[in-house]
């Protein structure tokens, strides 16, 4: 079966349905613009008591990392300086309330996302070499380009398309599962099981076993061959359970995020036709356009930390045991760091934002995500002449609380 046949548009539409993908649990029904509220909050103080969604005025319960934790006091930070201090002090602002035991069940909470200190460093070092900028080519030529072009093949002849689901959605999952060494057909089954991690583990089991027998040029092979140095200096190979936790983390952390960030970037550009035309003619401008979209509208605007001892942050006393929510969406528009922070301006001098987090847990997949977004948008510009928003359709809107993205992106071309 060719990839084009497998990437059936109807299957993709069912799998990546926008209504169910804007996970209601993470505040998917939030449609207002949170940035004015975040500006007021940041102006009235860098750290506030309460969760980000409560302080923003979202009436429901929204879940994300560090939530709901009903028995702990909650605080939220909104300034760049407050986030910078918290990210750079992971002993006081820890990624989980207790130590991670990798020998128990596989899952994202047992992955390096929740680890601290030396344990985190040792696990992360095993995969970091597969995610460095120099590896972007490996990801692009092996998986990203093929997926991107077969998706465009599906609608290039039609003169119109909906780019959020028909294009952006499937690229990240197929990139990661491709990296695992899993064929496209099965990759979509994996996506279908995303909320049932044990089924994903069952799909991974034969791949892990096969790679233990005969390693190949893929991530599962990297993981089966990796040697972890324990605290006492002895080395051990990763157990199957540890490999599944790694794989689940990559699937969870890398799929929805990159999809939604690509949609946000495309929308920002389609809403600015002159800028899009400039980028089409001068591709060196695509990179600053992607970076500026990350600063201006990061898909995950909040991550949380657990306070391990009484501490003062920018004038607010945080008790041991409380949760500190880092509103990176607000910090990314702090006027103390960026002039005219609410403007999407690709000519800004390049400097780091918190779109990929900060401190030792900074996004592992950032260079892969950038490669997917630039390959994807670059290919659309190459192949679809006169690409523009469909003037007769409802324009895309930015929505979501803790997983932000856009509604449908209807375009016409040719």
């Amino acid at each position: 079966m060719t990839e084009t046949q497998v990437l059936d548009r109807e299957r993709i539409r069912t799998l990546f349905d926008l209504r169910s993908s804007y996970n209601a649990r993470a505040g998917g029904d939030f449609t207002a613009d949170p940035y004015p509220a975040w500006r007021r909050l940041r102006e009235s103080g860098p750290v506030h008591e309460g969760t980000v969604h409560e302080l923003t005025g979202y009436p429901g319960t929204a879940l994300f990392q560090g939530l709901p934790e009903p028995d702990r006091p909650h605080y939220s930070a909104f300034s760049h300086a407050a986030l910078d201090q918290a990210y750079r002090n992971p002993e006081v602002f820890a990624s989980s309330p207790e130590a991670v035991d990798t020998t128990t069940v596989s899952g994202v909470t047992n992955s390096m996302l929740s680890m601290g200190g030396d344990q985190h460093r040792r696990y992360r070092a095993l995969v970091q070499p597969s995610f460095v900028p120099a590896k972007a080519r490996w990801w692009i030529t092996n998986w990203i380009e093929e997926t991107v072009h077969s998706l465009i093949d599906g609608f290039a002849g039609e003169g119109r398309a909906e780019l959020n689901v028909d294009f952006c959605a499937a690229i990240p999952v197929l990139t990661i599962t491709g990296g695992f060494g899993i064929p496209v057909g099965q990759a979509l089954d994996m996506r279908e099981a995303l909320n049932r991690p044990m089924e994903i583990v069952e799909m991974l089991r034969p791949v892990v076993a096969a790679r233990r027998e005969a390693p190949q040029d893929d991530l599962i092979s990297v993981l089966v061959e990796a040697e972890l140095k324990d605290e006492d200096g002895t080395t051990h190979r990763l157990s199957d359970a540890e490999i599944y936790s790694f794989a689940l983390l990559l699937l969870f952390a890398g799929s929805g995020t990159t999809w939604k960030q690509m949609g946000i970037t495309l929308t920002a550009l389609l809403q600015r036709p002159e800028l899009l035309a400039q980028i089409k003619d001068d591709r060196s401008k695509l990179r600053p356009a992607i970076e500026e979209a990350l600063r201006w509208m990061p898909t995950d605007p909040m991550f949380s930390r657990f306070v391990t001892r009484d501490v003062e942050l920018e004038g607010t006393r945080l008790p041991e045991g409380s949760v500190l929510h880092l509103c990176l969406g607000a910090a990314n528009r702090d006027p103390a760091r960026w002039d005219r922070p609410d403007e999407y301006d690709i000519t800004r001098p390049m400097r780091a934002s918190f779109a990929f987090g900060g401190g030792p847990h900074i996004c592992l997949g950032m260079h892969v995500a950038r490669a997917e977004i630039s390959t994807g948008i670059g290919a659309l510009l190459d192949r679809l002449p006169n690409l523009r928003l469909d003037p007769d359709a409802e324009p895309p809107r930015y929505i979501g609380m803790y997983e932000r993205g856009v509604t449908e992106i209807p375009v016409v071309f040719g």
Binding site: R88, R121, R124, A125, Q128, P129, V132, P133, A134, I362
Partner: protein, 68 residues
């Protein structure tokens, strides 16, 4: 004027942030640790942006030695 910069290998976790902001200066070795490939590879302010971007504080600017 080239800024001189040092990498603390124990602190570097291989994030690649410095390679994003000062690609003329930094590269990774095969353990994904940052190394300075070309001390004069980027203007000083670009290197400062990379130093500030390092999430683990593994980079530090060294004082100019010969007034270059």
């Amino acid at each position: 004027m080239a800024a001189r910069v040092a990498v603390d290998r124990a602190l570097c976790l291989g994030s690649g942030m410095c390679l994003v902001y000062a690609p003329g200066t930094f590269e990774h070795d095969d353990q994904a640790k940052a190394v300075v490939r070309e001390p004069a590879g980027d203007p000083a302010d670009v290197v400062e942006t990379a130093v500030e971007a390092c999430p683990t504080g593994a980079l530090s600017l060294l004082p100019e030695q010969d007034g270059a």
